[in-house]
Symmetry: C2
Subunit: 351 residues, 2 copies
């Protein structure tokens, strides 16, 4: 079958590899659509980052580069391994793309997203969504009912947003400030709206400001290069400040503004991946008793996330900005994300 | 009466001022002992910081420099204003030294420590513990029963430690790592021990390491300049890392080590006051889903803190390293804290 495999930076090849074999406890899936993640782009440009380099196989998959890429995918069940129940051939599904050890303290405490050996399908080995077929442990397979398979490919990044929401402990009626309207910022905002929050998005690029407006995920879109963001947020909240903040830019100025725009005793969740250290005014953390929280991926978030889409509380269609074939992955996929990153939200690949 | 008043940096004068007048709802107290806080030292060296400078009176006290200093004090009730119940003349008491507006959202939500106009007795005006007498609103007066009055003067900084403990949400049996064995680090450690935690203290100076050992507040004292602190903490916790961390140094290297020494999904409470921005490796915050929390002063912590001392769970005597008279405040008080800061824990002043 065809698969997109990482051989090194700027060396992702579409090649023929053997089909994966079904085994007890596993599920065979024909992949329908796979989204390209910012992580995939980082691997393409500067990898291997999460991908196990040659000579350093992943402790759980025992694989190393070249590995098949893609972790944001949907598909149709084609066969069930021995002992698998609760799924049927023909089911439309998504995959929570984890490898975890099941033995470390975090796994035993239920925090499998913090497993000491954690790896992702599509990065650590075990196949990936940027191929025709995959076989995964049934634990990670979530049926999506009648959600269209193209939209279902966005369940994975939407679950990232859902987990960030859970980490914030925000509640309906709260006011959230999201810095950055990239793919994760927008999908997180969609979760927040669906949960009954008022959403303020700060964004500087025109295309992303437009997207924040046209997708309906923001109650207010503020350009911090043109307006005083903390002052505007205070104005919109009766002088109080936002209840929760979500940092989705990895830009220090945005983090600084969150500390000013958040209410005393507020929570800031850092969702973005930082390539450099952040500088923080600890006096604001102290005098306002702010909680700054990290969030990574998802843990038991998929069912609730799928339900939000099934109930019509989130419409994923506006976030799909292109559909391409696997052969066009590098040129039309990564190429678009590099040269037109502000207009592209989610590019889906059909293998 | 005599009072120590701040007139400017390195200009604290012991002078005669009028006695405060009792009014309805207030309590008149003869001050027994007053501790010198690090904040007082900062004001002496570089103030006015929290003290309202000339021309900028505090919004609640309407006072400006010169103000009477001292906020860590104990005393004996000498008279009760009209309408005050629950206290008697002769009671031994301590004071939670706040001025708050009672009207802002934080006050209304019960978070009076985050009041937008918050000021401290002994800094913002309203008299101070470094004088013979004071009159304060009965709301802030806490009886201490038979706790000796010298030890009772340490209830205020001990409440800072108690509040940091509450902010951490730590529970009995947890392992805490406290960076820094200055006065607040030591008193916080005493609270943690009293709450049934295992306490690891990291400290570099010999005198403070000794104090951490001889006061009995630490189960382990580690010198991070001589040992690999995160590795030792992992070793002491079966590879897991500490459950909670408390930053009490305002040294960036200590904060960095906390991020390495804390378990995944752990909590770090920043207790120290930083004069400069902190640099944080956000990848550790993210990938370990760490909560970094600010804590300031106390809110409803005094009764529980007093109870810990009354029940004998905390012995405050070892933290009193000197007793001086008010006339010797500058030379023997601030002078000792400047030149012998590692051996001095709490210097008490008897006015």
């Amino acid at each position: 079958m065809k698969a997109a495999r990482f051989h090194g930076p700027k060396d992702i090849r579409i090649e023929q590899i053997p089909e994966p074999q079904l085994h007890p406890g596993a599920v065979a899936i024909d992949i329908a659509w796979c989204g390209i993640c910012g992580t995939d782009l980082h691997e393409y440009l500067e990898g291997p980052i999460f991908i196990p380099p040659h000579g350093h196989p992943h402790p759980l998959t025992h694989e190393q580069e070249p590995v098949t890429m893609g972790h944001e995918f949907s598909g149709i069940v084609t066969a069930l391994g021995e002992g698998v129940t609760g799924l049927s051939v023909g089911d439309h599904v998504v995959v929570e793309p984890y490898f975890v050890c099941g033995e470390c303290r975090q796994c035993r405490a239920g925090n499998y997203q913090l497993c000491v050996k954690m790896g992702f399908i599509g990065l650590a080995g075990g196949g990936g969504g940027l191929s025709e077929k995959i076989v995964v442990d049934h634990r990670w397979v979530h049926p999506v009912g009648d959600i269209p398979l193209d939209e279902a490919a966005l369940i994975e990044p939407l679950s990232v947003g859902h987990h960030a929401f859970v980490r914030s402990e925000a509640k309906p009626g709260d006011v959230a400030l999201v810095t950055g309207a990239g793919p994760i910022g927008l999908l997180l905002a969609a979760v927040l709206k669906a949960q009954g929050l008022t959403v303020i998005i700060s964004e500087v690029t025109e295309a992303r400001k437009d997207k924040a407006r046209t997708t309906g995920v923001a109650d207010h879109v503020i350009d911090p290069s043109q307006e005083d963001l903390p002052a505007r947020v205070r104005q919109l909240t009766g002088g109080n400040g936002a209840d929760v903040g979500f940092e989705c830019t990895s830009v220090n100025a945005a983090l600084d503004q969150l500390f000013d725009a958040i209410k005393p005793a507020g929570v800031i969740v850092n969702v973005s991946i930082w390539g450099k250290p952040a500088t923080i005014d600890m006096q604001k953390l102290v005098l306002k008793e702010i909680d700054l929280r990290g969030t990574i991926a998802y843990v038991r978030d998929h069912p609730a996330t799928i339900k939000l889409v099934q109930e019509g509380k989130i419409d994923l269609k506006p976030f799909i900005t292109a559909r391409i074939g696997l052969d066009d992955l590098v040129e039309d996929g990564f190429g678009t994300l590099i040269h037109h990153k502000d207009t592209a939200v989610k590019i889906l690949v059909h293998p």
